[in-house]
Symmetry: C2
Subunit: 415 residues, 2 copies
């Protein structure tokens, strides 16, 4: 199969590198690298209709637009990452007073979060370059996704986590057969140690904002939004507005990249407007967006939405641009609104973890503030299952009443 | 659309009832009711190839073989129940020394368990008969599934649970907007109260082993196994052996019913052999299978696999028959083996809850005991996500080591 991966460019200085010349960030300034495809060849050899013909119900249906070779592991969970459902919860749309609302739910991914998209591509790349061990620093979804995708194809994964990580989250990593090292230090120390070990042992590192292929995995969500929603919208519609929860900035950057790929191919007539949503307690990127410029200043993150709780976002610059370049914006919401959003989504049958519900909380605020008009078509990305953080769910809803085992007691409480 | 639901028959006395004449169990002896389709008309009007043409990636692709009308709620999680992936974990097959092993993983269902299949059909039936409230007694997956499927279409759900139910499991029900009543009593009291309330308030009751439509939802897994595996097997192959974890017996009865439907249509040349697997600590149905007869005697269930921990199974007779009539058997496994099975499945990227891993534990024992030969094709049904019970997962694997944040410490621990 032909390979359309042309080169890397640095997101900061613009330097170009061949596909095999660099592995992680820009050697000059440490900037995140963008993957550039050979759009001219792709335009000639592919057409938008081609994807809908592909039988594979996973992100691998977009193999021609990915910078890796089709991996082995067919018939394993590696080939079930992506191609997640888009729901149309009309009751929520009515409540918000908007015409068209879609929610893309990432829970059915193999490890129940959006992060499987990135890990699937990173594991495919590791197989391709013959890396025997793939490594990440993570306490949560990214680590679980790497461990799960590596297990799917029998590859080794090593996960560094701060020793304060919740034992329940660690258990999932170990079940997937990953080697987990609990670092007697904070997340940044685990991150730095994972990179030191990577260089020393010749491992392949998945860290977000470091490995350029994570965004390439995440961009597949944009392709799906295009195939499942945008291509089916009537002519003359306003462009889609996409709400995305933002922590380190890699998901919003990846989705933006996907839309840019489609635009470069001429397959996207209107660039969607991308709105990033952060917790008020972890708003480093939103701060930069509203203050201007591209300098990301660290915060002391405090939010119950642990998957987007980040002091210094590692993909902040591209995340700011995702909103700026598409006419979008950044919205911040308090944790209370995130808990409300969990309950709102639950009432239409979507069980979201706090970080996933944050995007919906942002939509609620955007409607209140008239950023979203009734005729703006809106898609909310819900990035992970509520089963990932049941403790937060318990805070989102009232307790159930205890009753005597009698019909009279049932009648009394239901009044 | 034509409706092929012919009548009910009682699984104990064989009495027949029209589709609208009874609602739950047999009025004469309380036996579970079987749904009988109009197989002669179906044979004339349908063909096996028809299903693969249907675009809907859910159990609703089998609408013609279901006793309900196609429900509304398109674009909601109701239309994402079923059509779960079948994995082919070759490393596990090699380890077991068998040629063909498939694992059907029910985690991607909307509420992450097999129970969504039953709840989807029950909610469709509730919509069809105009029932405003659907009710169940459950502490776990069945309650979550009913709450989630009802929420998907804006229907009301009431869940009765013993007050000892884990708050984390209850939280999910409340997030889905269900009314949860914690009964100051045990599960049986919650069950009985739910039925009393059903009759009193005119609600529609989903209870397993009571409502005949739950098995009709569960049979769709058999249709999928047929479509995804059996139809693709080469001619002359030995029949498929299917391993199913068994608690109250409704899943194995439902899957058996699905295969019987296909056989009645003449679309299944070889009936699969069905092997039920129970925890040693909750083996009422296995006991009856091996002792002979159909009398189910209650046990004092004690197993960590809470989803199959049952004192008196409510669908035991049909569950015994599922194995007897297909040349299968019942296998019991200790909790230790269930924990091992969680770790084994995890290492190929499948994260199963204890009840789900029990089926795989049964396969391991069946291979050891020569019940399964190397050339027996085998499918293991994994009924729910490990995220449903992370506490059990923590027992299944060793703890991770804590290390100083230095490369020397990494080297030392990896030796």
């Amino acid at each position: 199969m032909k390979h359309y991966f042309s080169h890397f460019t640095c997101s900061l200085c613009g330097s170009e590198y061949g596909p095999e010349d660099v592995t992680y960030t820009c050697p000059k300034d440490g900037g995140n690298l963008n993957v550039i495809l050979d759009y001219e060849s792709l335009k000639k050899e592919l057409s938008p209709d081609k994807f809908t013909e592909l039988p594979e119900a996973s992100l691998w249906r977009y193999i021609n637009l990915l910078p890796v070779k089709a991996p082995g592991g067919f018939g394993t969970p590696l080939h079930r990452a992506g191609w997640t459902p888009v729901y149309k919860p009309t009751r929520l749309a009515q409540k918000l007073g908007i015409q068209d609302l879609w929610v893309k739910d990432e829970s059915p991914n193999p490890t129940a979060s959006f992060k499987d998209r990135a890990s699937a591509i990173v594991v495919a790349r590791a197989l391709q370059i013959g890396a025997e061990v793939t490594v990440a620093a993570s306490t949560g979804n990214a680590g679980a996704a790497l461990a799960g995708m590596a297990a799917a194809v029998g590859a080794k994964a090593v996960i560094f986590a701060p020793k304060t990580a919740p034992p329940a989250k660690i258990a999932q990593l170990i079940v997937f057969g990953a080697t987990v090292l609990l670092v007697d230090g904070n997340y940044d120390q685990a991150f730095d140690l994972s990179i030191e070990a990577t260089h020393n042992f010749g491992w392949y590192n998945r860290n977000t904002g470091f490995n350029p292929f994570t965004a390439e995995g995440k961009k597949t969500a944009a392709f799906e939004i295009w195939e499942q929603v945008i291509r089916r919208m009537p002519e003359g519609n306003k462009p889609l507005t996409v709400f995305i929860s933002v922590g380190d900035g890699n998901i919003i950057s990846g989705v933006h990249k996907g839309f840019k790929d489609l635009a470069a191919l001429g397959w996207l007539s209107k660039m969607p407007r991308i709105i990033g949503v952060q917790s008020e307690g972890s708003a480093a990127i939103a701060n930069t967006f509203h203050q201007g410029g591209e300098e990301i200043k660290p915060v002391q993150a405090t939010t119950l939405a642990d998957s987007i709780s980040v002091d210094l976002p590692r993909d902040g610059v591209r995340a700011v641009r995702a909103a700026r370049e598409t006419g979008g914006t950044y919205i911040t919401v308090p944790d209370e609104n995130i808990l409300n959003a969990i309950a709102e989504l639950g009432r239409v049958g979507i069980f979201a973890e706090p970080a996933a519900a944050t995007a919906y909380a942002g939509l609620v605020k955007a409607v209140e503030e008239d950023i979203i008009k009734p005729d703006d078509p809106v898609l909310v990305l819900s990035t992970g299952s509520g089963l990932k953080d049941v403790k937060a769910a318990m805070q989102a809803v009232p307790q159930a009443p205890i009753i005597e085992p009698t019909l009279a007691a049932v009648k009394k409480v239901l009044k």
